[in-house]
């Protein structure tokens, strides 16, 4: 787990702030689709997760979801695995940040490698480091 601390933030074309919770609607799926589409077209992207979205990249999720009783041998990747794969596929154009407060508040600050914890009061730095910001949902 990295901490960005006072390091200069890289600039990016787009910030996608995932504020809404997983398992409530299409929000997280839309965030993954939008991120993939932007990165494939050569754009640079910052992701920021707040609230329950910080759980998307928990180390404790492991590589695969729990077994499916009706398709026992099939593997289903966790969102942490998908995040890791995105970061390794787009190592220079994707940066993924998680809110430290929201993570710690949920006892969920052990993220997979590559996720950078950031204090919430630095969020405005992230807004300024990108040309466009999308907010998805609310905490």
């Amino acid at each position: 787990m990295d901490t960005a601390k006072s390091r200069e933030l890289p600039r990016a074309d787009v910030l996608i702030a995932i504020m809404g919770a997983p398992h409530t609607g299409d929000l997280v799926t839309s965030a993954f689709r939008l991120t993939q589409a932007l990165l494939e077209r050569g754009a640079s992207v910052h992701l920021w997760t707040c609230g329950n979205a910080t759980r998307l990249t928990q180390l404790s999720l492991g590589d695969d979801k729990p077994r499916n009783f009706v398709d026992w041998a099939r593997a289903y990747p966790t969102t942490a695995t998908l995040a890791t794969e995105l970061l390794s596929t787009f190592p220079t154009t994707l940066h993924w940040f998680a809110c430290r407060f929201c993570s710690q508040e949920r006892g969920a600050d052990a993220h997979v490698p590559g996720i950078k914890l950031r204090p919430p009061f630095k969020f405005t730095d992230h807004l300024e480091a990108t040309d466009k910001s999308f907010f998805l949902g609310v905490c």
């Binding site: 398992h23 998307l56 499916n68 289903y76 998908l82 995105l86 596929t89 787009f90």
Partner: protein, 130 residues
């Protein structure tokens, strides 16, 4: 009041996640309850009536990083499976009116629920909102 000896499950909230949910959507839980309890009736209301559409939805798959993620929820297929496994499925006609485009829109085996014809709550062992 006829006692059905079954349980009634009411689903109103549809599409609760896809990438993060995959196989473990609300109907996955219903399927297991149906198997363990020996019979379930399901009443679909609101947007959830689209679970019972006959026409297959586009294959739910996404590309994420270098992977094709094709293990996303497929509620129409799961409703088909539930009907074949003996679950009773009802769809509220006031919600169907929002989506139904023709006489073959609704899956075979799915019954319409209306003010005149509906699962009678009192006849069930229990009623669950999922």
């Amino acid at each position: 009041m006829a006692d059905t000896g079954r349980r009634l499950l009411i689903i109103e909230r549809a599409y609760r996640g896809s990438v993060e949910t995959q196989f473990a959507d609300v109907l996955y839980f219903v399927r297991e309850l149906n198997r363990q309890q020996g019979g379930m009736d399901i009443l679909l209301r609101g947007l959830a009536v689209t679970f019972a559409a006959a026409h297959p939805a586009p294959v739910p798959a996404l590309r994420i990083a270098g992977r094709r993620l094709d293990t996303l929820p497929d509620p129409r297929e799961t409703i088909r499976t539930l009907v074949s496994e003996g679950a009773g499925v009802w769809a509220q006609d006031s919600a169907l009116a929002e989506f139904e485009t023709g006489p073959d829109w609704l899956q075979k085996g799915v019954r319409r629920a209306s003010d005149a014809t509906f699962p009678d709550w009192a006849g069930y062992l229990s009623v669950h909102f999922l």
